[in-house]
Symmetry: none
Subunit: 154 residues, 2 copies
């Protein structure tokens, strides 16, 4: 959607510029027509302007295709912590599960987590169960350890 709109916008701008330019040329053509070789001047002028316009348009239309290849491995303790979204997505860990992982690592019991999140203890247990599955952990302490290693929690 975004890209289509951008293209439409550019085409619109291009059209408007072209229209006004032609109007200007139409206005001034009679003055230069009396001069000898005015046709060449006129043609060159039009060619130059439209070539520039075309170049601009061409640039606008194609620079969007910039391919960005991001190869990330792991980020340790540099500056403020940011969640490793790639890993999170890769393991299919939901935001809620990640939140609970943080609280587990913080040393809270299931009951305390339930209280802090205003949900039932059973809910916390299901979340943590699925979390352990996705992390390949057997215990909450192990989940905390793995979570830190993967950069999911500070």
């Amino acid at each position: 959607m975004r890209a289509v709109l951008d293209v439409k916008k550019h085409v619109l701008i291009y059209g408007l510029l072209s229209g006004s330019l032609i109007a200007v040329l139409k206005l001034v053509e009679y003055r230069f027509l009396v001069v000898e070789h005015s046709l060449e001047i006129y043609g060159g002028l039009v060619a130059t302007v439209f070539a520039g316009l075309g170049i601009w348009l061409g640039s606008r239309l194609t620079t969007k295709e910039a391919r960005v290849v991001v190869r990330e491995i792991l980020v340790p303790s540099t500056g403020p912590f940011t969640v490793n979204e790639a890993k999170r997505e890769e393991l299919g860990i939901t935001p809620r599960e990640l939140e609970i992982l943080g609280l587990i690592a913080g040393g809270l019991s299931n009951r305390e987590i339930a209280g802090k999140l205003f949900v039932s203890e059973n809910t916390v247990k299901t979340h943590s169960s699925r979390l352990f599955d996705k992390l390949g952990a057997k215990r909450r302490t192990q989940a905390a350890q793995i979570g830190k290693d993967l950069g999911l929690i500070p």
Copy 2:
């Protein structure tokens, strides 16, 4: 180097095309000149062709660039870890208890710790109980968290 050559090549082609185009226009201008409104037709023709040329040139000139490769590598954050002996003494934590704290934080169960240290599971439980007392922790996850905060474990 490669990019510069490319640009030069493009400019050259552009120039040649422009030149021949102008020549063609020059040749045919007299035929259309007799027709009414030929100037508008001529202008539109030139504008169209050069705009297309410009777009082509603009595309050629810009699509090749913008290939970004970001690489993040793991770094040993704070050098080799050293135990906070002061805190350890202050809390009266014995070396054995500290050892077990490390294994707890590593995500091991009491049984696994017992196996690794060649002691009974009961022994591990007594150690960890006393450890939790000294740390003021209620759970092993909390003990791990506190231990990290106090600099007792990496």
